[in-house]
Symmetry: C2
Subunit: 189 residues, 2 copies
DNA sequence: ACGACTTGCCTAAAGGCTTTAGGTAACTGC
DNA sequence: GCAGTTACCTAAAGCCTTTAGGCAAGTCGT
């Protein structure tokens, strides 16, 4: 009965890898147990239940994404910051589709409060420092940026833009150009 | 052994209702059988398997959404058309969250080809007739609009904007204003 | 109207995932 | 080296999926 050394942390990390390999929806307590070559019941000492496991993976992904965002924003401003931050989302989703899907999990209020969600909002707001927007337009713009990033990435990942010219990289660049132009010229009510 | 009169069609329709009530992820062959007061195995004459059922619900939702979109676009142009079409997505998602989630299901190529996906793209392109955009910018714009609509709606539905001022209706209106302004003034490469 | 065919719904059964209860063996520290 | 903790185990119940095979309720030809 050799001990494997399970921890909540290691389970979440392995769950994230599993998600990237087989899809977040296919992440299961059972599959994770197989990956550690351990009986299923053993995981229940480290994780409350299946939903708890998924939540932990989601929190991990949000954390990673926020870290990457912060790194990208450091020392950048204006359109440069906008583009770098946008690319963080897109690249992360392409490198880690399962984790990105996990980050979209609807969290209960408690988990949401403990998540890196706030950091994401703060960073988006920081990008807008390079543009001249007062409240409430700033909040509207934060929400727009969040919508575009998330919407584009999830449509692209889901194959919504597949096999049609022009290629998605080109579109992505032009969308960032367009957002930059829009933020510099935000219509007043 | 009274016959209930199951059909693929009725199953998809009832599945869509079930999705709106308990969430698309909770739609299960088993739950659907209970709803018809019929044994689970009976459904397998009308539906290949669980995934097939979900696909049929997704196709139904895409169809409904396209129908609403077409109705909204009839007799409208420019910003008027843009706003009406955008509201179709948002309203549909709010009225039918389960169906909307179903519409996001990643379809295999065969199902995707048979879906109303093409109609959606065509309608978005039709909206752009009110603006002066040549290819390839038109395609970029189609993708941007799709991203914003889907991204905003799914973030709002997921509670991403909850409990923070200003309210989401206000943001939604201002985002449509912003998109209109952007399309009238699309930045040239 | 009645027999034959079709088919809609059934029972039975196997396999997988989740979750809980309770046991045993491996580490930890005095 | 012993006591206590804890990591992992076995066992079992419950629910969902899916397939195989059966009977009765419809439908159709004559």
């Amino acid at each position: 009965m050799a001990r494997v050394g399970l921890t909540t942390e290691r389970l979440a990390r392995a769950g994230a890898e599993l998600a990237d390999e087989v899809g977040f929806a296919q992440v299961t307590v059972s599959a994770l147990a197989k990956r550690f070559d351990v009986k299923v019941a053993s995981l229940y000492s480290h994780v409350k239940n299946s939903h708890d496991l998924k939540t932990k993976i989601a929190l991990l992904a949000l954390e990673e994404l926020a870290d990457r965002g912060a790194a990208a924003l450091a020392g950048r401003a204006g359109k440069d910051a906008l583009a770098a931050f946008a690319n963080v989302y897109r690249d992360y989703a392409r490198e880690h589709p399962g984790r990105y899907a996990a980050a979209q999990l609807r969290l209960d209020p408690e988990a949401a409060a403990a998540s890196a969600g706030g950091r994401h909002a703060q960073m988006t707001r920081a990008i807008l420092r390079g543009y001249d927007l007062a409240e409430p337009d700033q909040t509207h713009a934060v929400r727009l940026l969040g919508s575009v990033f998330h919407g584009y990435v999830s449509l692209e990942l889901g194959g919504g833009f597949s096999h049609s010219a022009p290629d998605t990289q080109e579109t992505w660049s032009r969308i960032i150009d367009a957002l930059d132009a829009l933020l510099r010229n935000w219509p007043t009510a």
